[in-house]
Subunit: 191 residues, 2 copies
């Protein structure tokens, strides 16, 4: 970090990651060029390589940034009193972002899905995003005294991700909110 960054707008590296995050979500990984990312970040095109050695390095930085978001979301949910309340809060997070999900897909699911085909190494990194969610959900179900906590976590996250795919495909935000609400009721019914 240089001396001036504390008072001005974020540094170029941070701006590149932020722009890349948004564009990858809106346009997909393969459709987004370094030139577009650089322009959105207001950084000269060829200059990207000063901050990231390769395009994949920038993609990895985006994955890390998403991972930070997931961790901080889960950390905020951990403050809730009961595992049911925590799980319902997670479902609510998707309901709250239904419009974005219907427009561009789940930021996590669509990224992972695309990388699964694109690059084995990046896919492995990105799989951690879903794994973190699954592990956290499993912990909550276990705290509820469920022996089948792992299966319940899969059902929960799969329900959210499948609904996100359908909402995106049909451009139907309400589909996402309805399914998220149903999952909240389902969690309640297990209590």
């Amino acid at each position: 970090m240089t001396h001036s960054e504390t008072r001005e707008r974020p540094g170029k590296e941070e701006r590149l990651v932020t722009s890349a995050r948004e564009l990858l979500h809106e346009q997909g990984v393969q459709c987004t060029t370094l030139a577009e990312i650089a322009e959105a970040a207001d950084v000269p095109p060829g200059n990207v390589y000063y901050y990231f050695k390769t395009r994949d390095d920038l993609l990895r930085a985006v994955i890390d940034s998403r991972a930070d978001n997931v961790r901080s979301l889960l950390a905020s949910l951990d403050r809730r009193a009961t595992p049911q309340a925590r799980l319902k809060g997670l479902a609510r997070a998707w309901a709250d972002s239904a419009e974005v999900v219907a427009a561009h897909g789940c930021p996590l699911g669509s990224l992972v899905s695309e990388l699964n085909k694109l690059d084995e190494s990046l896919a492995k990194d990105a799989s951690g995003l879903l794994r973190t969610l699954l592990d956290w959900a499993e912990s909550q179900f276990r705290e509820m005294g469920r022996r089948d906590a792992g299966d319940l976590a899969v059902t929960f996250i799969a329900g959210v991700q499948g609904a996100a795919l359908l909402a995106d495909t049909l451009s139907d935000a309400k589909l996402m909110t309805r399914e998220a609400r149903r999952l909240e009721r389902w969690v309640e019914s297990l209590g």
Copy 2:
């Protein structure tokens, strides 16, 4: 069709669509080049354009081919006696292809997901694949006397698609079979 196609292997156009189907599923839409498709179909590279005016035209042919598969699968399930048996048969179809799904994703879901980002026009065409499944499932739930047939159809197809994404991401075929079996029991419990 020429005079010789009846006795020999499928014509070049058909071979191109078949090869494209497989490669698009295994490698994704964007990672698969026309040259690869042509080579797999044993057709000279530049010659693809004699059969398909553009790359998108070939992609559309693949979508149509997938749509035919979906329709014939649903037609075969329609022969079963009860809507429960039909829905369970649909879930079983994914359980039976769990290995392929864990290796390359759901052939329908991953295609639709990728096209959602890639091209609006193709995405619209491909969305029909999921729409057909949803409409058919809704009919079955309605025949079971459920007022919320549309919501149940969403839950059902979302569950399958979400599980396919997780199975692909974690390379875990058993995850797909477990979740498909759970959906079968769920359908049974609604009867």
